[in-house]
Amino acid sequence: MKIQPLSEDSLIVYMGDGIDRLVARKVKAATYRIRQDLFSYVVDIIPSYNSIHLTYDLTQADFFWFHSQLRGLLADIDGMTFSDQKGAVIEIPVYYGDEVALDIADIVERCHLSRDEIVTIHSQQLYTVYAIGFSPGFAYLGNTDQRIAMPRKNTPRLRVPAGSLGIADTQTAIYPSDSPGGWQILGRTPIELLDFQKSSLTPMDMGDLVKFVEIDRKEYLSLGGRL
């Protein structure tokens, strides 16, 4: 673990190298501790892959005090072992039909696999939320099976419909709202993943485990999915 000051009121804690689900679990555990113990001094917290970015309230804490609190709080975290045991899994229904899988033809061609094989490979796996960003509620999930790893589109779409499920390299994600984007789209969820009116805002948090569950057209529509 390494704490690095960044600005008058922000710092970053690096918790490991590389994109690794055990490092992500460590980040999740440390984030939880910070939220529990230091929440009245923290203005904002951004856990991401192998780091935690913190903005603290200079009217409540200064550099030395906050750094020493943080060091104390996280002192034993490097020595802790984070197993791969499965915790709660967030299940997200996805319709993989051609009418919403905007890039399925390209994906089939690039992977030399059938549509069904791609869907099976994509949906049978458990993913880790590595980071949330790019746009509100956009969760980077990894890692996909190498067989369906996919470069981004050469020309990004100007508008990717909300709920679209994409792949870029070995990461996969759902666009929570209509936005421009260059990921290859292979399905769509009928579930609202970002709701500013709801207190939970988004169901996913950094370090969570996610599974995609294939649904058919009828289920997709009955859950409120749009075509």
Binding site: S7, S10, I19, R35, S48, N50, T59, F134, P136, G137
Partner: protein
């Protein structure tokens, strides 16, 4: 009690001190680009430091006053007038029913702030009235859109206030040469000594590519030994160096995480200063000690009565 928007101008948005506590789900802070001008506008009227205001970029805004109140205008001189009579920024002014407050175009600086006694009563989304167009959040309709003709900007009735003005030593000169203090950090070790000295000894120019997310500069390219990094949280004022070596200073509406190497952070007070500068402005960087920057900021917070920012627990 309201101002009626006659002409919304090129880019007029509602801003308060920012939206805190939601960066973990990718929601940026927003907030006033020029915090100094924003804080003075509230101070001139005796408002709370974080009362919501209008941020007017370039100009062209006009508003019809429906009930008497007192306004304050700070920041850039965008050719403001009341009923055609030219008024200067950094003052408060009483306004009466039927008055027309108008902004023409940027004479000096880029952004003006218009505050009203008691603060505007703008709708809040996730605890803030700040508008972030990219995220479709905040603003009068909670959709991230800028002002539109016919919009009503509500405020509470107040007694007229005596004229107040900002003491001259607190009024920045937007034409003066500008040097930004930089706290080294993030991937600064991935820049060689030669690259670091190039960065701190060169003059950069503000490009045409500037918005509330960030300021792209052009000049002597500097290169990190890293192509990219694992995406990580981005501080206000962080200086991102993409492959072309041209620095980008990330400001209020910045993305919360990013994967480009960063050389350090411009201090918050200096990040506010750059936001009044337009394309073509020459900029230099100077090393700033983090403890000195912290002390400066604490004194500043005290001066403006900046209080605790309570983030939601989640």
């Amino acid at each position: 009690m309201a101002f009626k928007v006659i002409n919304p101008g090129l880019m007029t948005v509602t801003e308060d001190f920012g939206r805190f506590g939601y960066q973990h789900i990718g929601v940026t802070t927003g907030g006033p680009m020029d915090e100094h001008a924003f804080l003075w506008a509230n101070r001139l009227l005796g408002n709370s430091f974080d009362s919501a205001q209008l941020e007017i970029t370039i100009g062209q805004l006009s508003l019809e006053v429906q009930q008497p109140t007192t306004i304050a205008i700070t920041g850039g001189d965008l050719g403001a007038s009341i009923n055609g009579k030219r008024i200067k920024p950094w003052f408060s002014y009483p306004v009466d029913s039927g008055d027309l407050i108008a902004f023409n175009t940027a004479v000096n600086g880029l952004r003006a702030y218009l505050a009203v006694k008691g603060g505007f009563d703008f709708p809040q989304q996730l605890g803030s009235a700040s508008t972030v167009s990219r995220e479709k959040i905040g603003g009068l309709r909670s959709d991230g859109k800028k002002l539109a003709p016919g919009d009503l900007l509500n405020y509470k009735p107040t007694h007229p206030l005596p004229h107040t003005s900002v003491p001259s030593q607190f009024i920045p000169d937007y034409q003066a040469p500008i040097t930004l203090g930089v706290i080294p950090g993030y991937q600064c070790d991935s820049f060689s000594k030669a690259e670091i000295s190039k960065f701190f000894s060169s003059e950069y120019e503000v490009s045409a590519d500037i918005d509330r997310m960030g300021y792209r500069l052009s000049g002597e390219p500097v290169h990190s030994s890293l192509d990219g990094i694992i995406s990580e949280g981005i501080s206000y004022g962080a200086i991102q160096i993409p492959k072309d070596g041209q620095p980008i200073i990330l400001l209020r509406d910045r993305q919360t995480i990013g994967g480009y190497p960063k050389i350090g952070c411009v201090t918050s007070l200096d990040a506010a200063r750059i936001s009044q500068r337009g394309p073509g402005t020459k900029v230099r960087f100077a090393l700033k000690d983090i403890h000195e920057a912290e002390a400066d900021r604490m004194i500043y917070n005290n001066f403006f009565g900046i209080g605790r920012r309570i983030a939601p627990v989640n």
